[in-house]
């Protein structure tokens, strides 16, 4: 069973989490050209191998996480809070 190490709750079964999708996507500004929005919403790298993605610890702390996962082996390399401020705070040990 795949386990995800939630930085807030510890290692938990992946069934506690909800998959968010490709975490490498940055949505453009609201007034950006339509093509930019089309690309962000509809197009995917769809990587076979290491991919950054978002998961929500739905049945736990309900925090959104950035997870580095291999899409072929399902191995997980790193887990961090999706919110950059929280990630920085955890990093600095505050």
């Amino acid at each position: 069973m795949t386990r995800i190490s939630c930085p807030f709750c510890g290692p938990r079964d992946h069934a506690e989490f909800s998959y968010g999708g490709d975490g490498s996507i940055t949505y453009p500004a609201l007034e950006a050209p339509m093509q930019d929005w089309h690309d962000a919403v509809f197009l995917r790298e769809n990587i076979c191998g290491w991919q950054v993605e978002t998961w929500q610890h739905l049945h736990g702390c309900r925090m959104w996480l950035k997870v580095e996962r291999d899409t072929m082996t399902h191995e997980i390399r790193s887990v961090a809070p999706a919110h950059p401020g929280l990630a920085a705070a955890l990093e600095s040990g505050l």
Binding site: R44, I47, T71
Partner: protein, 423 residues
């Protein structure tokens, strides 16, 4: 190659079954083909067959990285139906069903197509209204066999569902397509392979594409594990791995994600379910039929996260078992025989792509989501038409990669641009 006939079967039966010949050749690869289809699945083989049969393109090859019938062709639940309501899908799947009805004769191969009805359970007045609206649309546009059944009629036909007052999901009726059913997936593979081979198509197994050579806007050759092959036209039909091949051709991103879908088969039982039965309520999803060998063949949702691994996970096993027990409690003591996962390319609106690409001589067949099996004959038919003529016929004109830019989503579920929701 021996042609199948009643006399032939009888004679072989009398003479020890020793006179059968190979069903298709195992040829060496030629250095050049006029058309190369990458992907020896159902769609690839069907495409090659119609290319040769309808358009006379005999110097063609199908490249398969493993063995034919070993990928998604052997990993589905064999359901065939045409009860799609959105414009485009409706015409396409009805055409496919009409081709299924003649397929065994067409291929001289018994694909065991069994039109045993497809019964979708309905659990609320709203669901009945929505189904009635869709099925009325079908009846008025060329799919005459779509019916809405009340509870009494359903009880008579399928008596052993959970009709109890305390059922978790009380059944109120059903949406039924009577010409829908199942086919033997292996037989469809073998039938198309044999028929295409007979028309001169080379089926090259253990032939993985490792590189794509380009000359500007054209593909010139494919590097494969069985040597370099130059090609006039190239078709990609590699469900689950389209993005990998697409990036090999230097083409960037696609509106698809690879997800895995699990399926299950039980130990053989005596006749229990004579239809395809489908249950979907809230987040629960379950479909089941009984194979001619007696095994209960069933499945549920995707695994929810992108994956290229052809193996499943346990939460889905539990999910599917719970759904099974809530609608067919009599399955509770039945042993599971096997379970497996296939990798499907889920698109952004739940519908497929049969289209031209940014490269002049490259054509794309992808994004079949859950539903590639039932589409097989029409997908092969129209993909061959596209490759032969270099332009999309009206029936597939909207199934192109640019439809999202035009503001068009052929979204049967109304789930929006989130591939995991289009199960």
């Amino acid at each position: 190659m021996t042609r199948f006939s009643a006399w032939n079967v009888f004679w072989q039966g009398m003479s020890g079954q020793r006179g059968w010949s190979r069903q298709w050749r195992d040829p060496e690869s030629k250095p050049h083909y006029d058309a190369v289809i990458v992907g020896g699945g159902l769609h690839g083989l069907a495409t090659a067959y119609y290319l040769a049969k309808t358009y006379g393109l005999r110097n063609a090859a199908v490249l398969e990285k493993g063995w034919i019938g070993g990928g998604n062709a052997g990993r589905n639940t064999t359901i065939v139906r045409s009860n799609y309501a959105r414009p485009g899908n409706r015409q396409f799947y009805e055409h496919s069903l009409k081709l299924w009805e003649e397929l065994s004769h067409e291929l001289n191969y018994n694909v065991m197509f069994s039109q045993r009805s497809h019964i979708a359970l309905l659990h609320s007045p709203g669901a009945i209204d929505a189904a009635a609206r869709n099925y009325n649309t079908l009846r008025r546009t060329g799919t005459p066999d779509a019916e809405i059944w009340g509870l009494e009629q359903l009880k008579q036909v399928v008596p052993h569902l959970n009709y109890a007052a305390g059922a978790r999901f009380p059944v109120m009726g059903a949406a039924v397509q009577k010409r829908a059913g199942t086919a033997r997936h292996d037989a469809v593979v073998w039938g198309y392979a044999r028929a295409a081979d007979q028309l001169g198509v080379d089926i090259l197994q253990n032939c993985a594409v490792t590189g794509v050579e380009r000359d500007g806007g054209r593909i010139t050759a494919l590097e494969t594990t069985r040597g370099r092959i130059t090609a006039g036209k190239v078709g990609f039909a590699v469900a689950g791995n389209t993005s990998r091949l697409w990036s090999m051709a230097g083409l960037g991103r696609l509106p698809i994600e690879s997800h895995k879908l699990q399926a299950f088969v039980s130990e053989p039982l005596k006749p229990l379910l004579d239809q395809v039965m489908v249950f979907g309520m809230g987040g629960a999803h379950f479909y089941i039929s009984q194979s001619d060998k007696g095994g209960m063949v069933f499945g549920g949702d995707l695994d929810w996260y992108t994956s290229y691994a052809q193996r499943g996970n346990l939460p889905i096993v539990q999910d599917v078992a719970e759904a099974a027990m809530s609608v067919m409690p009599c399955l509770g003591r039945v042993k599971l025989l096997r379970h497996w996962a296939g990798v499907v390319d889920m698109s952004m609106d739940g519908s497929h792509f049969i289209c031209r690409t940014p490269l002049d001589n490259l054509y794309l067949n992808t994004g079949w989501n859950y539903g590639g099996f039932k589409a097989t004959p029409a997908a092969g038919w129209w993909f061959a038409d596209l490759i032969a003529n270099g332009r999309p016929a009206p029936i597939i004109a909207d199934f192109d990669l640019k439809r999202f830019e035009r503001g068009l989503q052929i979204d049967e579920r109304g789930a929006g641009p989130d591939p995991k929701l289009h199960g």
